[in-house]
């Protein structure tokens, strides 16, 4: 290990989580790389009350899409439905192609797209877990503000991308 690495390991403030890029949230409000899947929530285009929970599993590239009430997406058979495609597109905006491809273990050729390399089968995974993670995500917006000193936050500087 060289001196720089040792110095890095001996710093209190280093960036561990890569930054995410801002994106439009209207159609795909929630995307995450977690539980061994790219997973997220896609708002229905026709019914404001309905959302789809879509995912691509890392490694096997199994595809899943259903409503939050666990009704299978009618458009998913054999190949990815538009919800999964939108999810993948937004994930690439948010995390960058490299990070998504690495997580899913997909080889994307130079200039190629992520979805052109995903040829997984359909394998329904329960929507409830992802949907509840989405609700937990939304619940942050309802946590009241704090005016406590929060000295803990000195470990977490706002690290704007150096422009």
């Amino acid at each position: 290990m060289d001196a720089d690495e040792t110095a890095w390991e001996r710093c209190s403030v280093v960036r561990v989580v890569p930054p995410v890029e801002p994106r439009k949230l209207a159609k795909v409000p929630f995307v995450e790389l977690a539980d061994g899947r790219l997973q997220g929530v896609v708002s229905s285009g026709s019914d404001i009350e309905r959302v789809y929970v879509s995912s691509i599993t890392a490694g096997t590239h199994a595809l899943s899409c259903s409503t939050n009430n666990n009704r299978p997406c009618g458009a998913l058979h054999g190949y990815a439905c538009k919800h999964i495609r939108m999810l993948a597109d937004e994930a690439v905006v948010q995390y960058g192609l490299d990070r998504v491809a690495r997580y899913l273990r997909v080889e994307v050729p130079e200039g190629g797209s992520l979805m052109s390399q995903i040829t997984g089968h359909v394998e329904r995974t329960p929507a409830a877990v992802v949907f509840s993670r989405f609700l937990r995500h939304l619940a942050y917006l309802e946590v009241p503000d704090s005016t406590e000193p929060l000295a803990e936050l000195h470990w977490f500087p706002a690290t704007g991308e150096v422009r």
């Binding site: 290990m1 690495e5 110095a7 890095w8 390991e9 001996r10 710093c11 209190s12 403030v13 280093v14 960036r15 561990v16 989580v17 890569p18 930054p19 995410v20 890029e21 801002p22 994106r23 439009k24 949230l25 209207a26 409000p29 977690a34 539980d35 061994g36 708002s43 404001i48 939050n68 948010q94 989405f134 609700l135 937990r136 995500h137 939304l138 619940a139 942050y140 917006l141 309802e142 946590v143 009241p144 503000d145 704090s146 005016t147 406590e148 000193p149 929060l150 000295a151 803990e152 936050l153 000195h154 470990w155 977490f156 500087p157 706002a158 690290t159 704007g160 991308e161 150096v162 422009r163």
Partner: protein, 464 residues
């Protein structure tokens, strides 16, 4: 800050500090591999830490804890003692660094006055704190290398519950930040390098906070007067944003006091850049004062002994124009700095406001009469107008002196610069009411109102 002051600051490390930090590194290595099966080397490292602290008030408990842990028994009280020992080492390093800084700057600091029996604060939910300790104990037992997805997720419910308790917010954002980093780093077992110091810092602080909750709510003093803002420091991780304002509090006939005040809002990872200010809209007087560079008149606001003013927007009203550079030039040198809350003493919290002028800038460091201090460019928030390019052409800078990894650095909060023969000033808080730079405004608008989208979704889906 003058060149002689910088020269004094940058001198050799305070006596004993490198040795203390080596002891910490030994502890951090032990925590990386876990306390369950403590090898010879980490066991020796813990014993060395206990040995160094033998003559201190934590000495006895620490020695016992190291004995027990080395013998394979890892109980809560032992972990608390270990955390206390590590925190004590950092406390000593912090004090040495702060003394160096105060001496170099000629800054007067108020002494810490032990609170006269502050009414015992309402004890926060014990079962919640116990839940935190269980998670922290599991982490310590398996070590960072042994942390898997299930262990990270097992903290979710505790964190959610903590977020609902206002006085435990610090612990909540701390654990949430740590859990997010652990999750994003998986599989940790095969990581090439680990942020060992950082994660052990977070673990230690969490361990201390989950004994009896936070320690900063000793009886506050109610203060009224004029608040002259020097600059805004922005803190952020995936689920929180906090703006901490550094200011001089003026009261009739008293020397000005350096104070901090802050507002924090919960958020999600997709709310980034200038958009974060929208989340702080519940504090309009403070945001307007930042954006319009005004003083603030405050009435009966609680000031904690550590120099933190607990912000109440309804007890503040905007005052006259107040240019932070003019204030810093005229008043900063004569102010009194606050005492440091004892359990907060860790070098990470060193953030002393200074004004620097007359330097040569290469965009990455300032050369002041042959002494060079690095600029902490990683701390330029994307929610404000400061850029390395602006720093390069800057002629004056208000910043925070910080210390990490054995080095001092300057975190810019505001600069004056000459751009196209025009004097310009840029402050971290300039965009508090929305970006004033057309390019930044356009970029922020491109994605629509993300906060409104998420609030709509929350309103429709959460209460079913």
């Amino acid at each position: 800050m003058l060149d002689v002051q910088l020269s004094e600051l940058l001198g050799e490390a305070p006596a004993g500090a490198p040795e203390a930090l080596d002891l910490v590194a030994g502890f951090d290595a032990a925590l990386t591999n876990g306390l369950a099966r403590l090898g010879e080397e980490p066991a020796a490292a813990l014993a060395a830490m206990a040995g160094a602290l033998a003559g201190t008030p934590v000495g006895e408990r620490l020695a016992e804890a190291v004995d027990k842990v080395s013998a394979g028994s890892v109980a809560d009280e032992h972990l608390a003692a270990l955390a206390g020992g590590r925190a004590a080492l950092f406390g000593a390093v912090h004090d040495a660094l702060l003394a160096r800084l105060d001496t170099a700057l000629g800054r007067t600091r108020a002494p810490w006055e032990p609170a006269a029996d502050a009414a015992d604060p309402a004890k926060p939910a014990d079962n919640l704190l116990a839940g935190c300790r269980i998670w922290l104990r599991e982490l310590a037992i398996v070590g960072w290398r042994g942390v898997d997805h299930d262990l990270v997720s097992s903290a979710d419910q505790t964190i959610e519950a903590l977020l609902a308790v206002p006085e435990l917010r610090g612990l909540a954002v701390l654990l949430d930040g740590l859990a997010t980093e652990l999750r994003a780093s998986g599989p940790i077992a095969t990581m090439e390098r680990l942020p060992a110091r950082r994660w052990a810092d977070l673990w230690t602080r969490a361990m201390l906070l989950s004994q009896h909750g936070p320690w900063h709510h000793a009886a506050p003093e109610q203060v009224s007067g004029r608040l002259l803002i020097l600059g805004a420091d922005v803190h952020e991780h995936a689920t929180v944003v906090r703006v901490q304002v550094h200011a001089i509090l003026e009261r009739n006939g008293e020397p000005g006091r350096l104070v901090r005040t802050s507002v924090a809002a919960a958020k999600v990872d997709t709310i980034v850049g200038p958009t974060v200010w929208q989340l702080l809209g519940g504090h309009p007087v403070l945001l307007a004062a930042l954006a319009e560079r005004r003083a603030v008149e405050i009435t009966d606001m609680p000031l904690l002994p550590g120099g933190d003013l607990r912000w109440h927007d309804d007890r503040a009203r905007a005052g006259e124009d107040a240019d932070p550079f003019a204030i810093a030039r005229v008043q900063l040198a004569a102010t009194v700095a606050p005492a440091v809350t004892p359990l907060d003493r860790h070098p990470v919290r060193l953030a002393e406001v200074v004004l620097v002028e007359g330097y040569k800038s290469d965009g990455g460091s300032f050369d002041l009469g042959g002494n060079r201090i690095g600029l902490d460019l990683g701390r330029l928030p994307s929610s404000g107008p400061l850029t390395p390019a602006l720093l390069k052409v800057s002629t004056a800078c208000i910043g925070l002196v910080r210390w990490d990894g054995g080095q001092w650095s300057l975190q810019p909060l505001a600069v004056q610069a000459t751009v196209k023969k025009q004097q310009v000033a840029a402050h971290n808080g300039d965009w508090a009411l929305g970006p004033t730079d057309p390019k930044a405004a356009k970029a922020a608008n491109k994605n629509g109102d993300v906060v409104a989208v998420l609030r709509e979704r929350a309103g429709r889906l959460l209460r079913k």
